[in-house]
């Protein structure tokens, strides 16, 4: 009987342990990422630079280039994985992901339009949020009522909408003045080369992750179906609306930070569910942490593996994501 309880993973300790492990992993991955790069720096040199000591060059490389990029990478991964985990609950479907369903496509189009109009910063994030929300509404609206959507219908709708956004992106790129082109291109694949302000992403990621924990049990119920959730006392409509807005916000902030990085929201929650079970109180914060680790490590690879040539981080995540997606489809867990 005791065995059953330990595997049920509902005690505070059972949640604390994996989270503590993931926090450790997160710190390690960020440390690793900060010490890797085209300029070979020893960990002690990095540590000195972080404290504002050592050579000016080392300080510039660490403080101006690496640290902002590493922080952006982590936050982007956390945001996307969390958004993916939330959408999977909302749609009760492990294949849901901001990228697959065209949500980040909508955010990208809006962000490109913002660049065309010369908007930056919060205004651009706001546009991206509207794009993401519009896209989510379209997918849900066209795929039918939340309560009885079928997987196939949903996926097809998402795929078609993603393709539509893709066409709009190509159109905007074709019409854009040449001096705005290079800045725009990176929205297509997701790239952290230009990320130097991680603060907005962190300001969204941390509070949202913490505030989602008390909602975890309600989300557990929602994952079992809206009727069951309502029968056990969940305000289903309100919760679904909240999850929808939060997932759109997370996606929008991720897209304004790094363009549309694919498949993080799909891979990370799935891997975690295999290992940790499906209690959202654990899975949601774990997704934020593990997503952060994944993108941090993927971006480290992207900027070092064939240096000096730099890869967009989206290439690495897609290389991981596509086989995972196919495997999930194959196993029919949808």
């Amino acid at each position: 009987m005791l065995d059953v309880r330990s595997k049920a993973r509902v005690t505070r300790r059972a949640i604390f342990l994996p989270i503590a492990l993931l926090v450790l992993l997160a710190v390690l991955s960020m440390v690793l990422s900060v010490t890797q790069g085209s300029v070979a720096l020893s960990p002690s040199a990095v540590w000195q630079a972080l404290q504002g000591q050592g050579s000016i060059l080392n300080q510039t490389v660490v403080m101006e280039l690496r640290l902002p990029r590493v922080l952006s990478a982590f936050a982007t991964g956390g945001l996307l994985a969390l958004a993916g985990a939330l959408m999977q609950i909302l749609l009760r479907n492990p294949l849901a992901d901001p990228y697959v369903l065209g949500i980040s496509g909508g955010a990208s189009v809006a962000a490109l339009a913002a660049i065309l109009l010369g908007l930056t910063g919060l205004l651009m994030s706001g546009m991206a949020f509207i794009g993401a929300a519009l896209s989510t509404l379209l997918v849900f609206g066209l795929a039918g009522q939340l309560s009885h959507n079928s997987t196939l219908r949903l996926l097809l709708t998402g795929v078609v909408i993603a393709a539509g956004w893709g066409a709009l992106i190509t159109l905007i790129l074709a019409l854009a003045p040449p001096d705005k082109l290079p800045g725009m291109l990176y929205w297509l694949m997701g790239d952290l080369a230009y990320a130097h302000t991680p603060w907005l992403a962190w300001l969204v990621l941390v509070p949202v992750t913490v505030l989602l924990v008390p909602l975890g049990r309600s989300l557990n119920l929602l994952a079992r179906g809206p009727m069951q959730a309502a029968a056990l006392g969940v305000n289903v409509k309100g919760l679904e609306r909240l999850v929808f807005i939060v997932a759109s916000l997370l996606t929008a902030v991720a897209v304004t930070t790094a363009g549309s990085v694919g498949f993080v929201g799909l891979v990370v929650p799935h891997m975690l569910r295999l290992v940790l079970g499906n209690d959202q109180r654990l899975i949601l914060p774990a997704s934020a942490l593990a997503g952060g680790c994944l993108v941090t490590l993927a971006d480290t690879l992207a900027r070092t593996v064939i240096a000096p040539e730099q890869l967009p981080v989206g290439v690495i995540t897609a290389l991981l994501g596509v086989p995972t997606f196919l495997y999930l489809l194959q196993r029919g867990r949808v």
Partner: protein, 264 residues
Amino acid sequence: MTWLRADQLVVAIPGQTPCSEHALTIDFKPGEVWGVLGPNGVGKTTLLHTLASLTTPAMGQVMLDDTPLKDLHRTHIAQQVGVMFQAHQDGFPATVFETALLGRFPHLSPWDMESEQDLALAEQALAQLDLTSLVQRSLSTLSGGERQRAALATLLTQQPEIWLVDEPTNHLDLHHQVAVMALLKEQALRQKTVIMSLHDVNLAAQWCSHVLLLYPDRAPIWGRAETLLTQEYLEPLYRQSLAVTEVNQRPVFVPVAQVYKSID
């Protein structure tokens, strides 16, 4: 002691115009076991959903201890009223134990973790439903009957005052049919109210204290089971000729291959 009351209630069935003459005004009292009988599509499931405030009625209202359900917070309702659905939604994969533990949801605040007591309740419920050996199995790997029992275990863990159960014996073998009906009867003995929809009139005859007969074409009738479970009321209900016999002082109805003629 919690009372559930249907007050001039007409349920909303898609494609049907509600008729106030078919309204229900029933007090479901603690200790009673109600069987809701009627042919397919007459609205048995909709009635149970309406009683749980999952569906809005077309007319009238449902009261819980003299307060209309619509004025109550959903969590408060869930602390008193439990529902077991007939069709189990395919949500995310979950284990049998996790499923049973869901029943504690309305009794916990957001920051609470399930306590030892909550875990014990879930274990007890699973043991009562013969599922102890399956606790770690994923719900999706279970047979229909096992799923049905897991759903009942959730309800048992929830410990509501009012039990709304949609076709409790679906998919169950004979042994488990009896076990489940006995379990529901036991709840009534503990002064809970049990309301279940049944398609087997003989189960109602054996286990229910009260029945509600939902006719497709005339006003419903309700009352004590031994009064209403007769050929006179049941044949028009199912539009089927029935033969009746008696086993253990309870009536047993058998459909007979004979053209049913309406008395009207």
